[in-house]
């Protein structure tokens, strides 16, 4: 029986606001435990939520960037459940009237365009963090994260392979990052993903039992987990034991490399949703929508097309340049200082991307890189010397000119100086010159070696070769200049 895989995703994204969704506490990551807190986000008796305007704006931007319809009248609801990371024992979320609905993201599957539909996007507050202590019967609670604004993006079950799911996530991440809605760092938890996966015979319209997978901490893990779960389910179908597939939540255990059933918390997830009485409805004016529309930055797709037109680079290069908004911006900054797009691209795709693996920001001002490239173009330094300068530029505040000076990397390019040296080398190596005259090409290399030695490697090889050949041919003609 030919089975097809059906995958849907639920993605939680932390919005890039300065303060929490319902109070003025900071959303900054990495603060000491329980220091970004106040009576409101710790659910003290008598406190009330007040909605952050910026959270609504970012949710609208996300919705528009993901081609959704914006519900100009939307509201909050209470989702009731007991868990120590939720101080009010209810989460303020949106149930039946979310802020955005019916959007999509297009991805490329086997050369063709495939549309992954988004069912809805809603706003909600994040919960705190529970830290389990090894070997002790104690759990620690940190409420710094409680109340950080989230949007939850729910897709339709449109993905058919684990790879499609990843492609979707990559595209989604780029869009969210570009629109500056979130910094989308899975390592910091600002992007989280749960996956739902089921299988059904090809041609069947109804969906079979789905399994939810949690604890996916990177795109790699998501891919692995989906692949493993796909295998697990397929086997059960193959052995006619499909009844063993229960609608449950399974946890991805990356150490074990498989999903395991999670201990069920409560019998029924009866969340008893009802409209949040402490918050008025959210009413979005047309003028607000228009103003926001104008502020939406250029999205990845647009940028790609523009780069193709404007800079005439190939697809592979462009894909790297637009992979992160920061990189694309950097590229354009470097180019603005009058260097060729191709050169700028080479350096960024090569050296910058290499170092970026370890670091978060590009530590070389665009102007400096541009100047470095220009120095190579003008022959002032060799390409290999430039790579050395590049590394130093990353680690210090110095300008490329300063570093080149310090390291004495200026190539000898000046015709007079070089000519002098080359003349000397020719004089001192009559055998090699003779050999060259008699057709031995390698002698050319030998002579170059001698030139480099005599100039301590600082000769500009290109120019040196030009001059050497000129001299040699002059000599052949029996002239001397």
């Amino acid at each position: 029986m030919a089975m097809e895989t059906v995958i849907g995703l639920e993605i939680h994204v932390e919005l890039n606001t300065k303060t929490k969704i319902f109070c003025g506490c900071s959303t900054e990551f990495g603060a000491k435990a329980n220091t970004n807190t106040c009576p409101i986000c710790t659910g003290l008796p008598g406190t009330l939520p007040v909605l952050n305007r910026e959270a609504v704006n970012l949710a609208i931007i996300a919705g528009k960037a993901l081609n959704c319809q914006i519900n100009t009248l939307n509201k909050f609801d209470r989702k009731n459940y007991f868990y120590p990371d939720s101080p009010k024992a209810y989460q303020i979320s949106q149930f039946d009237l979310p802020i955005c609905e019916h959007g999509y993201v297009d991805i490329n599957v086997a050369g063709a365009n495939k549309r992954i539909n988004i069912l809805r996007i809603h706003m909600e507050e994040d919960a705190g963090k529970l830290i389990h202590v090894e070997g002790k019967p104690v759990t620690l609670i940190d409420y710094n994260r409680t109340g950080v604004p989230l949007i939850e993006i729910v897709t339709e079950p449109d993905m058919r392979t684990p790879k499609e799911a990843i492609d979707f996530l990559v595209a989604l991440k780029a869009i969210l990052e570009y629109s500056e809605v979130s910094d989308c760092k899975m390592e910091q938890g600002s992007l989280r993903c749960d996956a739902n996966i089921s299988m059904r015979p090809f041609g069947q319209e109804a969906l079979n039992t789905k399994v939810e997978i949690k604890n996916l901490n990177s795109f790699k893990e998501i891919l692995k987990a989906l692949e493993k779960e796909e295998v697990r389910q397929k086997e059960l179908y193959d052995f006619k034991e499909a009844y063993k597939i229960k609608q449950e939540t399974r946890k991805w255990d990356s150490a074990k490399g498989r999903t395991v059933p999670m201990r069920s918390k409560e019998d029924a997830h009866d969340y008893r949703y009802f409209p949040e009485p402490d918050l008025p409805p959210v009413v979005i004016k047309e003028s607000t929508l228009d103003a926001i529309e104008k502020k939406i930055p250029e999205m990845p797709e647009e940028k790609k097309k523009r780069f193709e037109r404007q800079y005439k680079l190939n697809e592979k290069e462009i894909d790297v340049l637009i992979s992160k908004k920061m990189i694309a911006q950097y590229f354009e900054e470097v180019v603005s200082h009058e260097v060729s797009p191709k050169e700028a691209s080479n350096w960024i795709v090569g050296e910058v991307m290499r170092i970026l693996k370890e670091s978060d920001r590009i530590e070389i001002p665009g102007k400096y890189l541009a100047n470095l490239i220009r120095m190579i173009d003008m022959g002032k330094i060799s390409r290999s010397a430039a790579k050395d300068v590049f590394d130093t530029l990353w680690l210090t505040d110095k300008t490329p000119e300063e570093i080149v000076e310090e390291k004495q990397l200026i190539q000898m390019s000046g015709a007079d100086e070089l000519e002098k040296v080359i003349f000397e080398v020719i004089e001192q190596n009559p055998d090699a010159v003779e050999a060259y005259k008699n057709g031995k090409e390698q002698s050319k290399g030998f002579l170059m070696g001698q030139i480099m030695k005599a100039t301590n490697g600082q000769a500009n090889p290109k120019f040196a070769m030009e001059i050497l050949l000129k001299k040699l041919s002059q000599m052949e003609r029996g002239e001397r200049d």
């Binding site: 303060t19 003025g24 009576p39 952050n52 305007r53 959270a55 120590p84 202590v133 759990t139």
Partner: protein, 94 residues
């Protein structure tokens, strides 16, 4: 709508409350009566009511401006087990 002790126990579990059998039975009876009384809502014609009609509440938003709560020490002064700036609870198993 019959309300028996099974329903009471289910609701109690949702509400994180515990009742003895006697209490649960008494509750079931009371509930029965109260819910029957609530049925008088059925005698009212609600067909013309607009559920999403604009209410008394005017929309209200706050600006994304930092507001630091200054009495940090007192914020957690009511916590029984507070150590190294963490709130301690018995182990939570996921």
């Amino acid at each position: 709508m019959k309300t028996d002790t099974d329903v009471i126990n289910y609701i109690a579990a949702l509400a994180k409350l515990k009742f003895s059998n006697d209490e649960a039975e008494k509750f079931a009876e009371e509930f029965q009566q109260i819910m029957m009384h609530f049925n008088n809502l059925d005698t009212v014609d609600l067909s013309s009511v607009d559920m999403n009609g604009l209410d008394q509440l005017q929309p209200f938003l706050r600006e994304d401006v930092l507001k630091i709560f200054k009495n940090e020490a007192e914020l957690f002064s009511n916590v029984r087990d507070f150590k190294d700036n963490y709130i301690l609870t018995p182990k939570v198993i996921e």
